[in-house]
């Protein structure tokens, strides 16, 4: 089809939308990123820290925000909504309604002068109303686009901001506009809304000031939040000494029509409790009231244990019914203690862990888009196509599909990108714009001629710093050939001017003294490139964010400091050198290790995008674990799916399958790896490839307890499933069954949760009940972790009469056999021992990592976690990337997970891999470390200190750093005792010059 359009509409600018957009442009598709509010970032930009690493949310998201904002091929359309959608997959005609913002975001520099003078206060939604903003506002300081907007509902039209704005960006008469675009595909990442806790009237939200929602608490914890990171309670601004969390507010609650589990609240409550304790050092008391602790994700269980054992967070398994006022603004809770006794306790502050709900007007939105929703109002998908909506060419990622956490959202976002890329394979690159630059001037050997451009930033800088004086001073500094000041150095006309002046004054280094390089360096670097200068000949002095804004009360000191900052920049600039990247060609072929569901899906996704795939499986057949799965809760047919998957893989002309084969050697780097694959017949095949995807899967562990292996009536869930699926089986119809959860999981040996077993137990229990409603089934569990929509099946199981008995890790059930099987367990609710005599005991056994991982990890030079699963580059934002470029992972190789999650992750890995395979070349070099061979004494320091294992001793006996692998941290350079290593752009003289210049 020739009419496919090489662009994608992404709806929703949260972390999912951002990730999918970045992946899409990398793979050659243009993106329109539609955002409802004034700026992208979504909920993640409102979070304080993220679990389970306690990484700062803003630190991790803000580089992505900036990247999105700067990408030429991502058009961010803020304050906008979807109008109509016509056409079909490959070519949709979409209408976008862009609401009036009243400030031209192309002109606005984000200086904030308007907000400073605006007389009107309004509720700050970003901070959940905990503080106020003005009628003209920016959602948060790091927002992208960095532009203000006017809240017309609040604005009184006084005209102050219009008269003050030096960029003439205020447009009182701004009108709604309708924009028509053609796109090949649509990706939904519209996210969720949080449940309104006021609907749970018994909890007193809105009535008692010291009851807050967890989302509000997140802002309270944030150092940039309403209380600057101090925890106060609203009634008396006192620092609380005792905080309680109530879980499942608006989740797992039929009473408020939210029957599903919101999946993330348990872990975020754990996080909030830990962080709160870090904030209030002197013995803050934290208690979490929960129904089941659902810390099922990778590393979550360990996180939960640390909270309990190291941080002293108290966990009480009790559903709270009402909250009553106590003394002094406190809140009184009644709950049943571990021993079943009712107790009453007061807390200073209460956090309601609110759940997710679909976004507002989602039905209407779905209608416009022509997609189906499920019964909860989330986007409908299926087990085997977890990213595809009911309309072809429309994909979904993140919490719009089901409540989920950030890594799952990010994974699906990359997966959705892969789906769109496969659909639009032939249109890739057709709508991408590339900038052309003039040939670079050779500045080597030339005496530095530095140009300094000082920005007034309207009055942001000039209002405090004496800009003309500073400029005059700059002109006197050594090597400075020219200096001037501008009203806005970043404006378009100034870019043209800078370019002209570079030519006219023959400048070979440029300094801009303005705001921060974190947002503006790329813009100015681009400008000097247009004038034929290498972008590394640029330096910035941050005289706004780090000077005028923070020293406003002392203009003289600020002016002095601005001079010093410029002097430092000049000192360094004289030493700057052009850096070049070396293009390395990319072999457009992938090596996929592992032929299970994940490996096959990743292979197919890549092959459908037009890339060759070598799929290596060590077993004699494809399929992996899914070969043992015969039915799902949702009524799918896994075996039919498997057969069709294998058929597709085998039939695909771009995929070569190597069965009974193993990877024995891997060398090279992103874009060009060389590997050896050895077959069972010991034939060695050499494969050249540009990327690697690891999908080695996991294995069901063999239990050593509960008489398994000693008594035939004790079997695993998987064995039960085989029996249930086999009409010939003799034990398909037991009278009574006891299932034991967490066998081998969540203990010292395997501190993690195996994630799938609760769902599997419920699935098999329902199947047994379906075959014979009279079968007695007992499930002995520690926490039922039927997260997300799986909660419904847990409910159905209880309705069908399955009896759930909680047991404690310290008092595990005991299985014995004296003719009949006997299971004894202590029921904490009854406080009594329960004795059961089932026909069959079914063990929900742990998932182990694959043994192969330990062989593979050193070959690939990647890391395994403590449980020998592969470790991703970043738990939150790079969930399918390895730390080393060009390597990806998916499926059970990463951690235990359900089929649909493995498929989504496989597509994600393919999506990420495609960002490399799609390029003809990868650029190596830039800010990387270099060894001066003559100086190297082969001391091995760099080899030992590099966090990425990059340096090695080469054939000449000296250290070598491959530019394409180096991450540019400079650790080796600062450790080398022979001073043989320099980090380019941060060479010692370049850094020291800056320090020297500070002191004149």
């Amino acid at each position: 089809m020739a009419d496919k359009v090489g662009s994608v509409l992404v709806i929703g600018g949260g972390i999912g939308g951002i990730q999918t957009s970045l992946d899409l442009v990398e793979s050659g598709l243009k993106v329109y990123l539609l955002e409802r509010t004034h700026s992208i970032g979504g909920v993640m930009a409102q979070l304080d820290k993220t679990f389970p690493t306690n990484d700062c949310a803003m630190c991790t998201i803000s580089p992505k925000l900036v990247e999105c904002g700067q990408n030429l091929n991502i058009e961010i359309i803020t304050n906008a909504e979807l109008g109509s959608v016509a056409g079909k997959a490959g070519n949709f005609e979409v209408e976008i309604v862009k609401h009036a913002r009243y400030i031209d975001d192309a002109k606005c520099t984000g200086c904030g002068v308007c907000a400073k003078s605006c007389p009107i206060d309004a509720i700050d939604e970003y901070n959940y109303g905990l503080c106020e903003r003005r009628a003209t506002y920016i959602r948060y300081p790091q927002a992208v686009p960095r532009a203000f907007g006017i809240d017309k509902d609040k604005c009184i039209g006084c005209g102050l901001c219009e008269s003050l704005c030096l960029r003439d960006a205020v447009i009182y008469g701004d009108k709604e506009q309708v924009k028509k675009i053609n796109v090949g595909s649509i990706i939904l990442s519209t996210g969720f809304e949080s449940f309104d806790p006021a609907l749970k009237q018994d909890y007193g939200y809105g009535e008692y000031p010291n009851v807050v929602s967890s989302f509000e608490f997140e802002r309270i914890l944030s150092a940039s939040g309403p209380y600057k990171g101090h925890i106060f309670r609203a009634s008396d601004a006192k620092m609380p000494e005792k905080i309680a969390w109530i879980q499942c507010v608006g989740s797992r609650d039929r009473g408020v029509e939210r029957p599903f589990c919101s999946s993330v609240c348990c872990t975020y409550a754990v996080k909030q409790a830990i962080i709160a304790k870090e904030h209030i050092r002197e013995g803050l008391d934290t208690t979490i009231f929960y129904m089941d602790m659902r810390t099922y994700g990778k590393g979550f269980e360990q996180y939960f244990n640390r909270a309990k054992n190291e941080h002293g967070v108290r966990f009480v398994c009790s559903r709270i019914h009402t909250v009553d006022p106590g003394s002094d603004g406190n809140l009184k809770l009644v709950f049943s203690d571990d021993d079943g006794q009712l107790r009453e306790e007061e807390f200073d502050m209460l956090v309601l862990s609110v759940g997710f709900k679909p976004t507002k007007n989602v039905e209407e939105f779905a209608n416009r888009l022509g997609i189906k929703l499920n019964e909860y109002g989330f986007c409908k998908t299926s087990t085997f196509s977890p990213i595809e909506t009911s309309r072809a060419g429309v994909y979904v990622a993140g919490a719009a599909q089901e409540p989920k956490d950030i890594p799952a959202t990010v994974m699906e976002a990359s997966g959705a990108a892969a789906c769109a890329e496969a659909l639009l394979a032939e249109a890739k690159g057709s709508q991408i714009v590339k900038k052309e630059y003039p040939p670079e001037k050779d500045v080597s050997g030339l005496k530095p001629r530095i140009g300094v451009f000082v920005c007034k930033c309207g009055i942001n800088i000039a209002g405090v710093v004496d800009v003309p004086a500073v400029t005059e001073y700059a002109a006197t500094l050594p090597d400075v050939a020219y200096a001037e000041y501008n009203l806005y150095t970043c404006s378009q006309d100034t870019q043209v001017r800078i370019k002209e002046i570079i030519e006219e004054k023959q400048l070979n280094r440029v300094i801009v003294a303005s705001c921060t390089p974190r947002t503006h360096e790329p813009l100015f670097q681009d400008t000097i490139r247009l004038a034929g200068l290498n972008k590394y000949l640029f330096e910035m002095a941050n005289v706004r964010d780090q000077c005028s804004w923070v020293h406003a009360s002392n203009p003289e000191a600020a002016t002095e400091k601005a001079k010093e900052l410029i002097r430092m920049a000049v000192g360094r600039a004289a030493f700057l050198e052009p850096l070049h990247t070396i293009p390395m060609s990319v072999i457009r072929r992938a090596l996929v290790i592992g032929g299970g569901v994940a490996g096959m899906n990743a292979s197919l996704s890549l092959a459908n995008q037009g890339f060759e795939v070598e799929l290596v499986e060590h077993e004699p057949e494809l399929g992996g674990n899914i070969r043992h799965i015969h039915f799902t809760l949702e009524g799918d047919k896994p075996q039919e799916y498997l057969n069709s998957l294998i058929e597709q893989v085998q039939a695909h002309k771009l995929i070569s399958v190597h069965l009974e084969s193993q990877v024995k050697k891997v060398s090279g780097h992103v874009g060009h790896f060389e590997s050896e694959v050895r077959s069972k017949k010991l034939e060695v095949r050499k494969i050249e490839h540009g990327v690697v995807i690891v999908a080695t899967g996991g294995v069901e562990s063999k239990p050593i307890e509960y008489l398994y292996g000693k008594d035939d009536r004790v079997i695993t869930q998987r064995e039960l499933e085989e029996h249930l699926a086999n009409s010939q089986s003799t034990i398909r119809n037991p009278h009574s069954v006891v299932m034991i959860q967490c066998v081998g999981s969540r203990n010292e040996e395997r501190p993690y949760c195996s994630r799938i077993c609760c769902t599997q137990a419920v699935k098999n229990a329902l199947k047994l009940k379906e075959q014979n409603p009279d079968t007695q089934i007992y499930i002995l569990y520690r926490d039922m972790r039927t997260y997300g929509f799986r909660e419904e099946y847990y409910y159905q199981a209880r309705k069908a009469g399955v009896i759930f008995i909680r047991y404690d890790e310290q008092a595990k059930p005991v299985v014995s056999n004296n003719g009949r099987l006997k299971v004894e367990v202590k029921d904490p609710i009854l406080g009594a021992d329960v004795v059961l005599q089932p026909d069959m005991v079914v063990l929900s056994v742990a998932i182990d990592s694959h043994l192969e991982n330990e062989n593979l990890a050193p070959l690939l030079k990647v890391t395994l976690d403590a449980s020998k699963f592969f470790l991703e580059a970043h738990m939150k934002l790079r969930p399918v990337d390895f730390g080393s470029d060009g390597m990806f992972l998916c499926g059970l190789a990463h951690s235990p997970k359900l089929i649909e999650e493995s498929i989504a992750q496989a597509q994600a890995a393919a999506g990420r891999a495609a960002t490399i395979l799609n390029k003809e070349r990868v650029e190596a070099g830039g800010v990387v470390s270099c060894v001066e061979e003559k100086k190297c004494v082969a001391c091995l320091t760099c080899i030992r200190m590099c966090p990425y294992d990059v340096p090695f001793i080469n054939k000449a006996g000296v250290a070598e750093i491959e530019a394409v692998k180096c991450h540019g941290c400079g650790i080796c350079a600062s450790e080398c005792p022979a001073k043989a290593i320099q980090l380019l752009h941060y060479r010692d003289p370049q850094v020291v010059a800056k320090v020297d210049a500070m002191f004149g």
Binding site: V937, C939, L940, T941, M945, P977
Partner: protein, 226 residues
């Protein structure tokens, strides 16, 4: 290799305080590898000295250099021009290097910036251990490859003293009992019977307590007679 460590700055300062112009010379071999006196450390020493002397109102000129091996005449000779212009030399090498400089430049006072500690290796990055005393008469073959002279605090050659506990030496809990290690290794090698032979008193004549030791090789040493 040779392991060394930097002397305290004040001690170095006291040695060179009286000079106007000092050449600081590092060595690119052992002391670079053990991070005590290579190019980088020379920079650190120089910077520290400049500051320490400035506090005393002194502004000497410190010239930094580093040569490939301070224990070879050819490399040492490359310093000649620089040495001519200075009042003193600070050697940041092992004692061999310091002496090489002193011998080559007899008119210049030469001072050591390092303490030469021992012959050994990094057990881990940043942790060095002594494994050899250079006794000149190696018996490692008898001890499973573990030297009791260097690693038994009493240098016993016929088995442990009886004071070790849980594999640690009675002299210091931090120190492994050398003999425990020897025992373990021999056991692994199935050579425990070796311990049954009593060793006669060792011939210490090759050891280092008798003045400068010398060694020559006829096949490469062509100078007159020795």
């Amino acid at each position: 290799m040779i392991i060394a460590e930097q002397k305290p700055i004040q001690e170095i300062k006291a040695m060179i305080a009286g000079y106007q112009k000092v050449l600081i010379v590092g060595c690119d071999t052992c002391v670079t590898i053990c991070m005590a006196g290579g190019r980088k450390e020379v920079g650190i020493i120089a910077s520290c000295l400049r500051m320490a002397l400035q506090i005393d109102r002194k502004k000497p000129q410190l010239i930094e250099d580093c040569i490939q091996r301070q224990c070879e005449w050819e490399f040492v000779d490359t310093l000649k021009d620089k040495v001519d212009g200075v009042d003193a030399i600070l050697s940041s090498a092992c004692g061999v290097g310091v002496q090489a400089l002193a011998e080559r430049f007899p008119n210049k006072p030469v001072y050591p910036a390092l303490n030469t500690t021992f012959m050994g290796m990094p057990n881990e990055h940043g942790l060095w251990v002594e494994n050899c005393r250079g006794c000149g008469n190696c018996g490692l073959g008898r001890f499973g490859g573990i030297c009791p002279i260097a690693r038994c605090s009493k240098g016993l050659l016929n088995g442990p003293c009886g004071g070790s506990q849980n594999g640690k030496c009675e002299v210091s809990k931090e120190m492994d009992c050398g003999w425990q290690l020897i025992y373990g290794r021999l056991k692994t090698l199935n050579q425990l019977d070796q311990l049954e032979d009593i060793l006669l008193p060792k011939d210490w004549s090759t050891d280092r307590d008798k003045g400068q030791r010398k060694m020559f090789r006829g096949d490469v040493y062509y100078e007159q007679t020795v």
